[in-house]
């Protein structure tokens, strides 16, 4: 086989791998968008973030190892871009430590109802806007973990890898994020009653 043939074959193989990579990545775009939407405060920001993610992914596709988790790889690009973006915009001040426990929201709703919440449904007390608003009030380091685990359905291990933090940090941030979210939801739910 001549050298030109070998070179031609290499180029053809690379083109094939690249098309496959791009198609697979595009097939995950709904899931990537869903996570992006949870991470930022507006749909426009989420759209920009997803577009930048795909631009970067398609440029650096060679650094993806075939057979590994492509969704996690894409979300790692996305969360890094989001961290850069968040550094540019003014950071929200740290919230005060939460003294109350995991059942803050439940207890607040129970208190305002004056009885245990037996068959009562959460959805009857909170609108979609309440949830989106409450999520946007969670400081972004905590929010990233919450969105990946609770909305993106990633394991602690995957979230740790995507955000490049230890698994213990994922767990503590998740714990904290859920508490902040519940405080925010409680404010909105109690206001509504």
């Amino acid at each position: 086989m001549s050298e030109t043939d070998t070179e031609g074959r290499r180029i053809a193989n690379e083109a094939r791998d690249r098309v496959r990579f791009e198609e697979e990545a595009l097939g995950l775009s709904d899931q990537v968008f869903r996570v992006a939407r949870g991470l930022v405060n507006s749909r426009e920001e989420a759209e920009d973030l997803v577009q930048q993610t795909y631009e970067r992914a398609f440029r650096s596709w060679r650094s993806f190892t075939p057979g590994t988790n492509l969704r996690a790889w894409l979300l790692r690009i996305l969360t890094n871009l989001n961290i850069d973006r968040a550094r540019r915009v003014k950071r929200r001040p740290e919230t005060q430590p939460m003294e109350e426990g995991d059942y803050f929201l439940y207890n607040k709703l129970e208190e305002s109802a004056g009885r245990p919440l037996e068959e009562e449904r959460v959805v009857e007390r909170l609108s979609q806007d309440d949830v989106v608003g409450a999520l946007s009030a969670v400081p972004h380091d905590f929010r990233d973990v919450l969105v990946l685990v609770d909305i993106g359905d990633f394991s602690y291990q995957d979230a740790a890898q995507i955000l490049d933090i230890p698994i213990g940090t994922v767990m503590s941030r998740l714990h904290r994020a859920r508490r902040v979210l519940k405080h925010e939801l409680a404010d909105r739910a109690v206001e509504a009653t």
């Binding site: 869903r34 939407r37 997803v50 929201l105 439940y106 949830v131």
Partner: protein, 65 residues
Amino acid sequence: MQPFLDRSLSLEEQVSVETHLETCPWCSNRFRFEQELRGYVRVACSEEMPPSLKAKLAALRTPLL
């Protein structure tokens, strides 16, 4: 409760939580509430990707020669 909801307990721990929930209304009310809250947060934050964005992403593909 949170590790139980995250399914990050060992099988043994999980069974003991489940057994407890069957007999304790205080905990089972809170469990149901927490479970429903998570589902609701997930649904409330799910927004369909706009078709215009999908088209923009598709346009980023490398053109075939």
